[in-house]
C-alpha cells in the first residue's frame, strides 16, 4: 500500500509538470501564429515579456501573501491595504535611507497591517471580510495623514506623493545569452539576435528568454525566489504542514498539539509582509515615488490570482503571469491587444472543443459561442477601448470561476472564525 502511494505521487507530479509545459508551448505557438497573422509584434516581444515580469511581481507577491493567510484559514481581503502600507513606508524609508532600507521598512509596514488583521480575526474572532475591509479603509486614511505630516514642506513631494527614493536597486542581465557584462566585458546578445530574426516560434522563444533575463532587478530575483521557497516551506516542512492543518481542520490540529492561534498569527503576518514587499516593489519600479492610489486594486487582483491558482503556488504564478501579461500589453501597444482578441478566440475555441470531446456539451458550446463572438469583434474593429483592457483580468477571473468554481478547492476551514477550546 505504502509502496503504491510512494510510486504514484512523483509520477503524478511529473505528469502535471509535463502537461503545464505542453500547455505553455501551445500558448506560445498560438501567440506566435497570431503575431504572424496580425503583425502585432509586441505580442511576443522581449519588451512585453520584460514588462510582464515587472507588472506581475506585485500581483504575485500579494497572491503569495494571500496564500499564506488562507492556507492558515484566514481570508485576507486586507491585502490591498497592506500593500498601501508597504508603498508608503517603503517610499518614506527609501527617501531617508536608501532603497534597501525602504524594502525592509515597507515589508515591516505591510507586516504591521497583517498583525492588525491577525489581532482582529484570531484574538477577537471578528469576521475576516469585515476586518479586511476595515484595514483597507484604515490604511488609505492613515497613509494620507502620514503624507500630510511627512511631506508638507518637502520640495518635490506633497500630500499625494513622496519624494524620490534615494538611489536605485541594482539590475542584472544574463551574460552571453542576453548580452550582459561579464567581468566588465560586453558579451553577445544571442537571444536578442534570435528575436530580431522574426522566425516563427523560435524568435518568440528567444524573446521570452531575453525578456526574463535582461535587466532584471535584484528585487525581482528576490520575489521569484520566494515562489519555490514558499512551496518548500508550506509543503515540505513540518512548519508548513502545521500551518496548512490549521487552515484545513483547526480542531484536529489543536488536539494534536499545534498552537493554532500562533500559527495563524505567523501566517497572517507573513501575508502582510509579502503584500508590503509587493507595495515597495511598485514604488521602486515606478521611478521610486509613492503616489496615492498607486496600488490601484493590485491587492484584489492578487486575491483573484490566488483563487485562479486554486490556492497553490504554481497556479498562483500562472494567474499572476496572466494578469501581468494583459497589463503589460496594455502599457505597450493597443494593436497588440487587438491581436490578442484573435488569440482569445483561438484559445476559447480550443477549450470549447476540449469540453465537447469530453462531452460536456453546455460548457463546450458556450466556449465556442464566446470564441465566435470574440472573433467577430476582432474582425469588425481596429482597436480595443482602453477601459476594456483594464477590466480584462477581472473578466477572466469571473469566467474561470464560473467554469471551474466547483473544481477549485480552498482550504476547508478558510474564513471560519476559530475559538480556542472549540474542539472539546
Amino acid at each position: 500500500m505504502k509502496e503504491i502511494a510512494a510510486r504514484r505521487l512523483p509520477t503524478n507530479r511529473r505528469g502535471r509538470l509535463v502537461r503545464a509545459a505542453m500547455l505553455m508551448v501551445l500558448v506560445l505557438l498560438a501567440l506566435s501564429f497570431v503575431r504572424l497573422v496580425t503583425h502585432a509584434s509586441d505580442l511576443t516581444s522581449s519588451g512585453t515579456f520584460s514588462a510582464t515580469l515587472r507588472v506581475s511581481i506585485p500581483i504575485l507577491l500579494a497572491a503569495l501573501g494571500g496564500l499564506y493567510a488562507e492556507r492558515a484559514g484566514v481570508v485576507n481581503i486586507g491585502l490591498e491595504g497592506m500593500m498601501i502600507l508597504g508603498t508608503w513606508f517603503g517610499a518614506w524609508a527609501g527617501w531617508h535611507w536608501g532603497p534597501w532600507t525602504g524594502v525592509l521598512v515597507g515589508v515591516m509596514g505591510g507586516a504591521a497591517g497583517g498583525l492588525l488583521h491577525a489581532v482582529a480575526t484570531v484574538t477577537f474572532g471578528i469576521d475576516h471580510i469585515v476586518s479586511g475591509v476595515a484595514i483597507n479603509i484604515l490604511a488609505a486614511g492613515a497613509t494620507r495623514f502620514l503624507s500630510v505630516v511627512a511631506y508638507t514642506n518637502v520640495s518635490g513631494a506633497g500630500i499625494t506623493q513622496s519624494p524620490h527614493v534615494n538611489g536605485t536597486i541594482g539590475e542584472l542581465t544574463l551574460p552571453v545569452l542576453a548580452g550582459g557584462r561579464f567581468f566588465g566585458l560586453k558579451t553577445p546578445d544571442f537571444l536578442g539576435w534570435l528575436e530580431r530574426q522574426h522566425w516563427f516560434f523560435v524568435s518568440d522563444l528567444g524573446a521570452l528568454g531575453k525578456g526574463l533575463t535582461a535587466q532584471v532587478s535584484l528585487l525581482t530575483l528576490l520575489a521569484v525566489a520566494l515562489i519555490p521557497l514558499t512551496y518548500w516551506l508550506l509543503w515540505r516542512t513540518p512548519f508548513g504542514l502545521r500551518l496548512r492543518s490549521v487552515g484545513e481542520h483547526p480542531m484536529a490540529a489543536e488536539s494534536l498539539g499545534v498552537p493554532v492561534y500562533t500559527m495563524k498569527y505567523i501566517a497572517v503576518t507573513i501575508s502582510g509582509a509579502l503584500a508590503g514587499l509587493g507595495g515597495v516593489f511598485l514604488v521602486l519600479e515606478e521611478a521610486g515615488i509613492y503616489r496615492e492610489g498607486q496600488v490601484g486594486g493590485r491587492g484584489f487582483i492578487g486575491l483573484a490570482a490566488l483563487i485562479f491558482g486554486n490556492w497553490r503556488p504554481g497556479g498562483v504564478v500562472v494567474g499572476a503571469g496572466l494578469f501581468g501579461y494583459s497589463d503589460a500589453l496594455q502599457l505597450r501597444s493597443n494593436t497588440s491587444i487587438h491581436g490578442l482578441l484573435l488569440f482569445i478566440a483561438i484559445a476559447a475555441a480550443a477549450v470549447g472543443l476540449w469540453f465537447l470531446i469530453r462531452s460536456r456539451v453546455t460548457t463546450g458550446v458556450a466556449a465556442v459561442v464566446v470564441a465566435s463572438l470574440v472573433f467577430w469583434w476582432f474582425a469588425g474593429t481596429k482597436a480595443v477601448p482602453d477601459e476594456f483592457i483594464s477590466i480584462t483580468p477581472y473578466v477572466v477571473t469571473l469566467l474561470v470561476l464560473a467554469v471551474a468554481a466547483q473544481r477549485l478547492r480552498p482550504p476547508a476551514a478558510d474564513g471560519r472564525p476559530y475559538r480556542k477550546g472549540q474542539a472539546q
Binding site: 484604515l138 477590466i391 473578466v395 469571473l398 470561476l401
Partner: protein
C-alpha cells in the same frame, strides 16, 4: 435587565468613539498641536447650520449605501460591489432620464426605477454566479466592481456623453429636464424657522431615503421573508432544514441589495448635478460597508453611523485652517470601524457568557450543569 442590556449595547459604540478620540489625539500630538483645541474647533464648526445641512446631505447616500450592504450582511452575504453598482446605475439612469419626457413625479420615479434595475442586475449577476456556479460573492462582487467602473468609464467617454460646446472638456451626459429633478428642501426648512445661508440646500432626497429605511425595517423585521433572511444569517443550516430555499434567498437578497445600491447616486444626480459626469462622488460604496458595520445593520444605527461619518468629514474641514491635516477624520473613521467591530464582538461574548452563567444558576440541581467554556 432590559435597561442593562441597552447599556451594554451602548458600551461598544461609546468605547469605539473614545478609542478613536484617543488615537486621533495621539496623531494630533504627533504634529505638536493641541487635540483639545482641535476637537473644540471641530465641534464649533460642525454644529453651524450650513455644516449640519452638509452633514445630512453627505449622510443620505452613505445611509442608502449602508442599507444596501446591511441587507446582505443580515443573511451573511457580502455585497462588496455597491461601488460599481451605484456608479453604473447613476450613469445609465442619468442617460435614460435625459432622453424621456414624463410628468414631474413620474419622471423622477422612472429615473429611480432605472437606477434600481441596473443595480439589481449587477448584484443579481453575482447572486446567480453564487447559486448556479458556487462562486463566492465577495470575489465576484469585487470583480464586478472593476468591470462596472470600467464599463461606466467606457460608456461615458464614447457612447453616452453629450456633445460639448468648444472649450468645455468635462465629459458628461445631457442635463435632466426640469421634470426629472428633485427640488431641495430649503422651503420646508424655512417653514420650520431654519434659515440656512445661501448655497447650502438640503437634498430633496431625504424623505425618500427615510422611506427606504422604514421599508428596510419592515421588510427585515416584520415580514416572513425578513424572518427567513435573519434565520439564514444566524444559522444557515437550521434555516434550510426549516424549509428556507437558500438559492432563492441569495437571489432575492442580492437583487434587493443591488436595487438599494442603485439609489446611492440618486441624491447627487437629482439634487445637485442633474447629469452624470466625472465629478460624481466616488467611494460611497466602500464607506457604505463601514457604515453598515458601525450601524450594526440596524436602520437607526446605520442612520447614526452615516451622520457620524458625514459630521466627521465636514467638521474636519476647519482643521486645515489651523494647520492640522483634515485627513484626521479618515483616521478616526478607520479606527471607529475596527474598534466598533471588535467591541461588539467582545460585548457579545461577555453577554453570552453571562447568559450561560445565569442559565446555569437557574438549572442548579436540575441535572448536569452546562459548561461555561462552550460559550466562550
Amino acid at each position: 435587565m432590559r435597561l442593562r442590556r441597552i447599556l451594554i449595547g451602548l458600551l461598544a459604540p461609546v468605547f469605539a468613539i473614545v478609542l478613536a478620540l484617543v488615537v486621533s489625539s495621539l496623531a494630533v500630538l504627533l504634529i505638536h498641536q493641541s487635540p483639545v483645541a482641535a476637537f473644540k474647533d471641530m465641534a464649533q464648526f460642525g454644529i453651524r447650520t450650513d455644516s449640519l445641512i452638509y452633514t445630512v446631505n453627505t449622510a443620505i447616500p452613505l445611509f442608502l449605501s449602508g442599507l444596501a450592504v446591511a441587507i446582505g450582511f443580515k443573511m451573511g452575504l457580502f455585497n462588496i460591489g455597491v461601488e460599481g453598482q451605484y456608479t453604473l446605475a447613476a450613469l445609465l439612469a442619468a442617460y435614460v432620464g435625459a432622453r424621456v419626457a414624463l410628468p414631474a413625479v413620474l419622471h423622477v420615479a422612472f429615473i429611480l426605477l432605472v437606477a434600481m434595475i441596473v443595480g439589481a442586475v449587477l448584484a443579481g449577476a453575482a447572486g446567480a454566479l453564487k447559486v448556479t456556479r458556487g462562486v463566492h460573492e465577495v470575489i465576484s462582487t469585487i470583480m464586478l466592481n472593476y468591470i462596472a467602473l470600467g464599463v461606466t468609464g467606457y460608456l461615458l467617454r464614447t457612447r453616452l456623453s453629450q456633445h460639448n460646446p468648444p472649450g468645455d472638456s468635462v465629459t458628461k451626459t445631457k442635463l435632466l429636464p426640469a421634470s426629472g429633478v428633485l427640488p431641495s428642501l430649503t422651503r420646508v426648512l424655512h417653514s420650520l424657522g431654519v434659515h440656512p445661508p445661501l448655497g447650502s440646500d438640503l437634498y430633496g432626497f431625504l424623505p425618500i431615503a427615510i422611506a427606504v429605511g422604514v421599508a428596510y425595517y419592515i421588510l427585515v423585521w416584520r415580514t416572513g421573508f425578513g424572518y427567513d433572511l435573519r434565520a439564514t444569517g444566524v444559522n444557515a443550516a437550521a434555516a434550510q432544514v426549516s424549509g428556507v430555499n437558500p438559492g432563492q434567498m441569495i437571489m432575492k437578497t442580492m437583487l434587493l441589495s443591488g436595487a438599494i445600491a442603485g439609489l446611492v447616486g440618486m441624491p447627487e444626480l437629482l439634487g445637485v448635478f442633474h447629469r452624470y459626469s466625472i465629478e460624481f462622488t466616488t467611494g460611497l460604496g466602500f464607506t457604505g460597508i463601514a457604515v453598515a458595520l458601525v450601524g450594526r445593520n440596524n436602520p437607526v444605527g446605520i442612520a447614526f453611523a452615516a451622520l457620524l461619518f458625514g459630521f466627521l468629514e465636514r467638521s474636519a474641514q476647519i482643521l486645515d485652517l489651523e494647520g492640522i491635516p483634515k485627513e484626521i477624520a479618515v483616521i478616526m473613521q478607520g479606527v471607529i470601524i475596527l474598534s466598533v467591530v471588535i467591541a461588539y464582538e467582545v460585548v457579545r461574548r461577555v453577554v453570552q457568557a453571562q447568559e450561560v452563567r445565569a442559565a446555569a444558576e437557574k438549572s442548579k440541581g436540575l441535572g448536569p450543569t452546562p459548561r461555561e467554556e462552550d460559550a466562550a
